[in-house]
């Protein structure tokens, strides 16, 4: 996927893979020669943070905006003051990693007015049909509408990140295509990316739309 839009927001159900996709997409943009900022605005989960990948992002020349307290024991939903650079500094492409579900999307209330005013964004719903609370299209639509309501912004596309972690096989991904297509029909949103771990990329090439390899893995341990 190569959107011309300046800001890309990754939102979705808790644990759908947003952080991983955000950092990989930022690297992809950077490799295309763009000035790139990643903003980690996850106020829900203090454990799984973009900051874990800080060294790799810095090496690639990507600016990281995240809470000063990420990866510390201070368990508060803090936002960084650099937050305003997301919309004020238009020289950068910005990739936004938003916390899970509607609770995570609440953070958008602070910046959506400026994002909507600039009107150069993609708001992408990350989906994984192997997550227990979004096993089918209708349940995913429910989560999606909750996020839109909390964030005050509408989705523009879908990212199919259906996987079973280490046990993901090509068939795992292929088995999720009808789900993504049904969701696309129900919502009128295009599937702009199907994200897979790098080792599955070759096996799936040409079989799913917008195949995008994930090379970086956000780590928890």
């Amino acid at each position: 996927m190569n959107s011309a839009k300046r800001i890309t927001l990754f939102c979705g159900h808790y644990g759908s893979g947003k952080t991983n996709i955000a950092i990989n997409y930022a690297l992809h943009l950077r490799q295309g020669g763009e000035a790139v900022t990643v903003a980690d605005l996850d106020i829900v989960n203090p454990y799984f943070r973009t900051k874990d990948s800080r060294a790799e992002l810095e090496r690639a020349g990507i600016r990281l905006i995240c809470s000063d307290y990420a990866n510390t024991n201070l368990d508060i939903p803090a936002l960084p003051p650099e937050l305003y650079a997301i919309t004020d500094d238009r020289s950068h492409r910005v990739v936004l990693d938003i916390g899970g579900d509607d609770r995570g999307a609440l953070v958008l209330g602070r910046i959506t007015p400026a994002i909507l005013a600039e009107d150069s964004y993609e708001m992408l719903l990350v989906i994984n049909r192997y997550r227990p609370l979004t096993p089918d299209a209708p349940s995913t639509v429910e989560v999606m509408r909750e996020i839109e309501q909390a964030g005050g912004i509408r989705f523009t596309g879908l990212v199919n990140n259906s996987n079973l972690g280490e046990e993901t096989e090509p068939d795992t991904v292929l088995g999720s295509v009808p789900y993504a297509e049904e969701l696309s029909r129900l919502t009128g949103l295009p599937v702009v990316m199907t994200t897979v771990k790098k080792n599955l990329f070759e096996a799936l090439q040409g079989q799913v739309p917008g195949l995008f390899p994930l090379t970086l893995q956000a780590k928890i341990v």
Binding site: Y14, G15, P132, G165, I220
Partner: protein
């Protein structure tokens, strides 16, 4: 449901509890276990269950007491400081012989400590968890699949022996995502003729209480409870042995420490060091027998823990100090790297062996 799903450990506990027939959950948010409450908040209303965010951990454990007295499967969850708050209620549950499932997704301490993983509530969990003489059955999962399976097992054991079962996990186990099969076998809930379900004017009142007016009667209830504990110690200890067949060094580790230890063991084996592991799946009852047996074969043991050395005492008790047992640990939310454990294994291989 035979197809696997990708779940966080905390979510797996919550869904498995629902599968086990739990329709009452009371809790209070605390990192790193909040997903259990969040999941229950979403699921319980859809299946006619009760999710209630209590005003405190103490309130939650007393709500557990009430539902359990009424004969239903019930659960609460928290993390270390929150579990400490529940300790009064845990003792009351024990005194009233009420079954319940309590989850502790441990974080670093003491005090408010931190939010990162820890195993430093081992003593608190295995020595009772409150005032008075009592035990809880303590299950220590080491994968998201076990988080689900031990939750079902915990409900079953709690009902069978009329006592609290505790899932003793840690922040890593709660947060990590792995594929899980939720095809879990659940045995039917036993009859609970003691439950306060209404007499319908057909039987005498059931009374659920932990107050005894006569000391002789209170003493008898303690002795009877400990008879039951003896049966549990004989029957219910669970463990896994890993590469122990020819081992001359034995690692003792549970939960996340056991996962990291496996990597270190495989690296040490590649260097020609014969090392294996006994992983307790139950911390109470502690699987003393395999440690006792291993003590006659190995020259050293290493207890790998995310604490200042708590399980190591049970290892020493089980082995009656026949072999040297050393500690390999990180604390405060830190996790041992395989390299640290590997170094401890190399050291034991070099210096261990003062058996003869």
């Amino acid at each position: 449901m035979s197809e696997k799903v990708l779940m966080k450990g905390n979510e797996a506990i919550a869904e498995a509890a629902i599968i086990a027939g739990c329709r009452h959950y009371f809790g209070y948010p605390i990192t790193p276990q909040t997903e259990i409450a969040a999941y229950m908040a979403k699921r319980m209303p859809k299946i006619g269950g009760t999710f209630l965010q209590a005003e405190s951990e103490i309130a939650a454990i007393n709500m557990v007491y009430g539902v359990s007295a009424a004969g239903k499967r019930v659960m609460t969850s928290s993390s270390s400081p929150g579990v400490a708050l529940k300790s009064e209620g845990l003792s009351y549950l024990a005194g009233a012989d009420l079954p319940a499932l309590v989850v502790n997704v441990q974080r670093g301490g003491p005090g408010l400590g931190g939010i990162q993983p820890s195993q430093s509530d081992y003593f608190q969990a295995t020595r009772g968890g409150g005032h008075g003489d009592f035990h809880m059955i303590v299950l220590a999962p080491a994968s998201v699949q076990e988080m689900a399976e031990f939750t079902v097992k915990g409900f079953e054991l709690a009902d069978q022996y009329r006592m609290t079962a505790m899932i003793l996990a840690d922040g890593t186990m709660g947060q990590m995502m792995e594929p899980v099969s939720l095809d879990l076998a659940v045995s039917p809930m036993p009859e609970k003729p003691w439950a306060t379900t209404g007499t319908r004017m057909k039987r005498p009142h059931n009374i659920v209480n932990s107050l005894y007016l006569v000391p002789e009667v209170l003493e008898r209830s303690n002795f009877e409870r400990y008879e039951r504990y003896r049966t549990i110690e004989e029957r219910e200890a669970m463990y896994e042995e890993y590469r122990m067949e020819d081992a001359e060094i034995c690692i003792a580790a549970f939960g996340i420490a056991a996962r990291v230890s496996k990597n270190a063991i495989n690296e040490a084996r590649a260097e020609g060091i014969r090392v294996g592991m006994i992983r307790p799946k139950t911390l109470w009852p502690f699987p003393s027998a395999p440690f006792r047996a291993a003590a006659d074969r190995v020259k050293a043991m290493i207890s790998v823990e995310l604490s200042m050395g708590q399980m190591i005492e049970d290892v020493r008790l089980a082995t009656e100090c026949r072999v040297p047992v050393s500690l390999c640990n990180r604390v405060g939310g830190m996790i041992p790297e395989p390299e640290q454990i590997l170094a401890a294994i190399r050291e034991a291989a070099k210096t261990g062996g003062n058996k003869q």
